[in-house]
Amino acid sequence: MKFERYGIGIAKGMALTFRHLFRSPITIQYPDEKLVTSRRIRGNELVWFPEKCTGCATCAKSCPQGNIVISTHRGEGSKFEVDIFEIDSGRCIFCGLCVESCPYDALAMGLSYECAKYRRGDLILSKEKLAVSANHQPSAYYRPQFEDKLPKQSLLLYNQAEGGQKLKFLPLSKRKRGSGA
């Protein structure tokens, strides 16, 4: 006797959704919890290495938007000193052509992705804002040499063997939830 059309399917479905009650939610409570992004992300900011830059302006020429302002003067010896290096991130399309074209690896895409500003003027990234610092790190996009130093991307894996978080019952409260993955 087959129990196919006696409401067994409904019971199976109800059991399935009931099991879902005891799984941890897959939503990330964004401002409180953040995932680690891909190491090769084309972030919203560019990172500039002042000591490597020769002021050749290859980046400015390769920019499809004409968005990079660079002006130099001759310094000691044969080296050019950069006076102005400005990128308007409001107009930038993040194509990464400037990073790919730089002959001296002086420009890299950044890791950051939270660059919303209140004023248009704040979008213009000056020399100081672009320069590499502790919280302004380059990503490994087109710069594989940085890859080892960067944290591994975290995904929502509920399997310990794959480096994910262990599946467990989590209460309703957001505070008791596991920190990311």
Binding site: R5, G13, M14, L16, H20, L21, P25
Partner: protein, 370 residues
């Protein structure tokens, strides 16, 4: 004697004028019911959103207050502050009256739902008949809303509402009659007092029929055809906003609360239970039924219109009639002392009938298609 009558007696003994003796307790009772219902509706909205979120691996609203408990209040403020839009070619009077006609009968239902010993507004001796009569009125309100909106989607929803609610009224009424037969009374208080063993054990089939019928009556998933978001946008309240929409929204949850209360009263033993106070037992039973309804919403897809109608007429109605006959014969033949025999018999009958009917219910060689 209900608490209200005791209050009246107290005022009478204190030599209040006649009109005040009748008016004061009545107004106090009505206000108490209003506050009770609205508070529970707010908790219900929060509970549904949280629990549905957990079923779908989300968290649900958790920002506004502890565990997001104030989210329904924020939603209510948002709805109330919105502009009240009336379509140009709408029937203005019906458009205005419809939400009131939907909401008021639902509030009236709570007059005869006992939440404790004597804690009932009026102990009508025809309590269940009153419920059957009053709960059907909101269909008219829904049809008025759908007609007055001058919108094709809402009109479709109105047609569906009439078809669905009229069809499902019959099995619901017939399964209630089974309860009244065993209890020997239509009064809600007497039915609760008659339940030494909850009637869900004595009449499992009747409970299933009543539950499914009530689910259709209150337009909850999987019978939410008249507000099917993916088919007819929002159904009958598509042209409503502001306070009028809030009335529909409250009415939706109010009728769930009312039917959960009726189910708890008729089948789960009402306020009766050990240790805890009666009101707590009543609320526990109501929340269990409501959580089960949410569980069904999280699982089951919406029925098609023809499936809905054939389920009512071909499955629930014959089952309800057979159930009534079985109960009547048992009341006539078996003595009341053989409760456990009745329970075992009825569980057997329920299982056999459901198996048999699901075999008969299939259309076209087992395919549930036209």
């Amino acid at each position: 004697m209900t608490l209200l009558e005791q209050f009246q007696l107290l005022l009478k003994n204190a030599n209040w004028p006649d009109w005040a003796v009748y008016l004061t307790p009545a107004i106090a009772g009505i206000l108490l019911i209003l506050v009770f219902v609205l508070t529970i509706i707010i908790v219900f909205i929060w509970w549904e959103r949280r629990l549905l979120g957990r079923f779908q691996l989300r968290t649900g609203p958790n920002r506004c207050g502890p565990e997001g408990i104030f989210q329904p209040i924020a939603t209510a403020i948002k709805i109330l502050l919105k502009e009240d839009i009336v379509p140009d070619k709408a029937d203005k009077l019906l458009h205005f009256v419809a939400p009131i006609i939907v909401f008021v009968p639902i509030l009236m239902l709570f007059a005869v739902i006992p939440v404790g010993e004597g804690a009932i507004l009026v102990d009508l001796n025809i309590g269940i008949i009153y419920i059957i009569a009053i709960s059907s009125i909101s269909v008219i309100g829904i049809f008025m809303a759908s007609w007055a909106s001058n919108n094709k989607y809402s009109l479709i929803a109105g047609m569906r509402a009439i078809a669905q609610m009229v069809s499902y009224e019959l099995p619901v009424v017939l399964s209630i009659v089974g309860v009244a037969l065993v209890a020997g009374s239509f009064s809600m208080l007497k039915i609760v007092e008659a339940q030494g063993i909850p009637y869900i054990l004595q009449q499992p089939l009747g409970f299933i029929i009543f539950f499914l019928g009530a689910l259709a009556e209150m337009n909850r998933s999987p019978f939410d055809l008249l507000e099917a978001d993916s088919e007819i946008v929002a159904g009958y309240h598509i042209e409503y906003s502001g306070m009028k929409f809030a009335m529909f929204y409250l009415g939706e949850y109010g009728i769930v609360l009312a039917y959960a209360g009726i189910m708890a009263t008729l089948f789960l033993g009402g306020w009766q239970g050990p240790l805890l106070p009666p009101i707590v037992w009543f609320l526990i039973k109501v929340v269990i039924i409501f959580s089960f309804i949410i569980w069904m919403r999280a699982t089951l897809p919406r029925l098609r219109v023809d499936q809905l109608m054939s389920f009512a007429w071909k499955f629930l109605l014959p089952m309800a009639v057979i159930n009534l006959v079985i109960i009547a014969v048992e009341v006539l033949v078996l003595p009341l002392s053989m409760q456990w025999l009745i329970i075992i018999l009825n569980f057997g009958f329920a299982a056999a009938l459901i198996l048999l009917w699901s075999k008969l219910f299939t259309l076209g060689g087992g395919r549930v298609e036209v």
